[in-house]
């Protein structure tokens, strides 16, 4: 009985420490889905870079920047990054050779203690080939499905904001204007 009491005391003394540490960091979670298989894809590198302006839609990361944190997606495409709670927002960048991700970068504003990021769509391409408009549209369908799953009651204005952010990401990646127009026509009606 005395032994149980000692254990209880130890657990009780560690619990506040653990809670303090947990409060000092934010988990960012999400999933990368391959557009053709509509399934998660592993070994995608997810990097979190600091950003000063979380509202900007035009994100860019310097090549020499060091990520705050980085991880790999598991075989099911899921990932989880732990970021210090002092950081309000990060730019998430998704990298895997031979894959083009939609979006390739996105700004994530934290909502402690856990922030879930909409699914990212990965389009496979070959060297010297252009990512087809069809594949990009498929990627936006995956994004739309993810938005719907995360927040079924997402306001149209909020949804529009996300899509505009994704379209900006396409522009930054150099996607041709016809593909962007096709995405706008289908996912951003006037």
């Amino acid at each position: 009985m005395k032994r149980l009491r000692i254990i209880a005391c130890i657990v009780a003394s560690f619990t506040p420490i653990y809670c303090t540490l947990a409060a000092d960091s934010v988990a960012v979670e999400g999933k990368v889905i391959e557009t053709t298989k509509k399934a998660g894809i592993g070994a995608f590198t997810v990097k979190a870079y600091p950003t000063e302006n979380p509202d900007t839609s035009s994100v860019s990361v310097s090549r020499d920047s060091k990520p705050l944190a980085q991880t790999l997606t598991l075989a099911d495409g899921t990932y989880s990054l732990t970021i210090s709670a002092g950081v309000k927002a990060v730019i998430l960048q998704f990298e895997k050779l031979s894959y083009f991700s939609v979006p390739s970068q996105q700004v994530v504003t934290f909502t402690p203690p856990k922030t879930t990021v909409p699914d990212v769509a990965a389009v496979k391409y070959g060297y010297g080939q252009i990512v087809s408009t069809h594949d990009v549209l498929d990627a936006f369908k995956i994004r739309e499905a993810s938005f719907n799953a995360m927040a079924a009651n997402l306001l149209p204005s909020e949804r529009k904001k996300f899509i505009e952010s994704d379209i900006d990401s396409l522009k930054n990646a150099g996607v041709d204007s016809q593909t962007i127009s096709a995405v706008k026509a289908q996912f951003l009606p006037p």
Binding site: T45, T71, L72, L97, F100, V131, D176
Partner: protein
């Protein structure tokens, strides 16, 4: 008076002595001696010629040529009286025919040489023509194919036409041959370009002719080409197949997006050195990004070998994958392999043999791409 025998007299005596040698006598006479004006050679029958020569200012000789010694003896007394009281016989004897020494090469006059050579050439040409005619009818063709192994072993680029020169050698030393060569690519993806000349070639005896074939490959890989054909020798001989020549060529993509990996060595039972060989057929002005992914890594990290990889990101690992990304500097080298080294490092307690490391390499894939000048994410190349 002449001081030696007149050449005309010499010539006459030579002719006269052709059948039987003449008998010559030489007499010393007074230095003012001369034959009487009415003296004629037939005054003394048996004497054929005579001549007075001055040996010196005080010494005069008479040389006489007689039909025979007997003729001289018969008229010796009368001749001595004719020569006067101061005469004395200095010399007597037969005239020997002068035999010129044989010149061993004297007959080798230019004209003779030219004539001899010409005759010989004509003779040999005649023989050769007859032989050639025989070979042109009956020669068995004996051609072989050869190509420069060094040139053929150089890698080629996908989509770019490249030549392969085939040397057709006629091993027959007398008969010319005609060969018709045709390349037969084995497998898909390799075609002969339209500008390739397939016409047959004539090869002189003992000589070789080079025929060039141009190819273009649609994708990277190893291709085998069999150069085959027929050869003809003499007109009446049937054509024969030439022993085929097989060549394997290596065709590279502009950018090698899937470099091959191989185990260099097991450094110890907890780490292994792995080689990554990149085969690019075009320059990479912005360098390249490479990504090595190990599935089911357990507790193995994929690490850079700092001696060959200078710009690597931090290795990443989760339960399913271990990944290392690194960049390589710009390169203007084309069709030359670039080799990099990775280290597979076991961080746990598992130990592995070389075979086990090789088995593990099946789970290691390397992808490569041109580095972008601005960011690593790109939509198109």
């Amino acid at each position: 008076m002449p001081s030696s025998v007149d050449p005309a007299v010499k010539e006459s005596t030579k002719k006269a002595g052709q059948h039987e040698p003449l008998y010559i006598t030489e007499h010393s006479v007074s230095n003012d001696f001369d034959f009487p004006d009415d003296f004629q050679v037939d005054t003394l029958p048996g004497m054929l010629f005579y001549q007075i020569i001055d040996k010196s200012a005080q010494e005069r000789h008479v040389i006489a040529w007689w039909k025979s010694r007997e003729a001289f003896e018969a008229w010796r007394k009368q001749f001595a009286e004719l020569l006067g009281t101061h005469t004395s016989l200095c010399f007597e004897g037969f005239q020997l025919a002068h035999r010129s020494r044989l010149d061993p090469v004297g007959w080798l006059r230019p004209a003779t040489i030219v004539a001899a050579v010409g005759t010989l050439a004509l003779f040999l040409t005649g023989l050769s023509t007859i032989e050639d005619w025989g070979y042109s009818l009956l020669a068995i063709p004996d051609c072989t194919l050869w190509t420069d192994p060094e040139a053929a072993s150089k890698p080629k680029a996908v989509g770019e036409a490249f030549p392969i020169q085939i040397q057709v050698k006629n091993r027959h030393l007398r008969g010319s041959s005609t060969a018709s060569i045709k390349p037969v690519p084995i497998g898909d993806g390799l075609t002969v370009t339209d500008d390739t000349d397939f016409s047959s070639v004539q090869i002189e005896p003992g000589k070789a002719e080079v025929q060039e074939f141009r190819f273009i490959a649609s994708h990277a890989g190893h291709y085998t080409i069999s150069f085959e054909g027929t050869q003809n020798g003499g007109y009446v001989m049937p054509s024969r197949n030439i022993t085929p020549l097989r060549k394997t060529i290596d065709v590279w993509d502009p950018i090698d997006t899937s470099p091959q990996v191989s185990l260099v060595k097991a450094i110890d039972d907890r780490s292994a050195s792995v080689s990554v060989e990149v085969h690019n057929a075009k320059p990479t002005p912005y360098g390249m990004t490479l990504e090595a992914t190990l599935k089911n890594p357990g507790e193995i990290d994929v690490m850079p070998d700092k001696r060959s990889i200078k710009d690597a990101e931090d290795p990443l690992r989760n339960a399913d994958f271990a990944v290392l990304r690194w960049r390589i500097p710009p390169s203007t080298d084309v069709l030359k392999p670039q080799t990099f080294r990775l280290v597979l490092q076991e961080t746990g307690t598992t130990t592995r043999t070389t075979d086990e490391w090789n088995e593990l390499l099946r789970r290691l894939t390397v992808r490569a791409d041109e580095a972008d000048d601005l960011s690593s994410s790109k939509q198109e190349k």
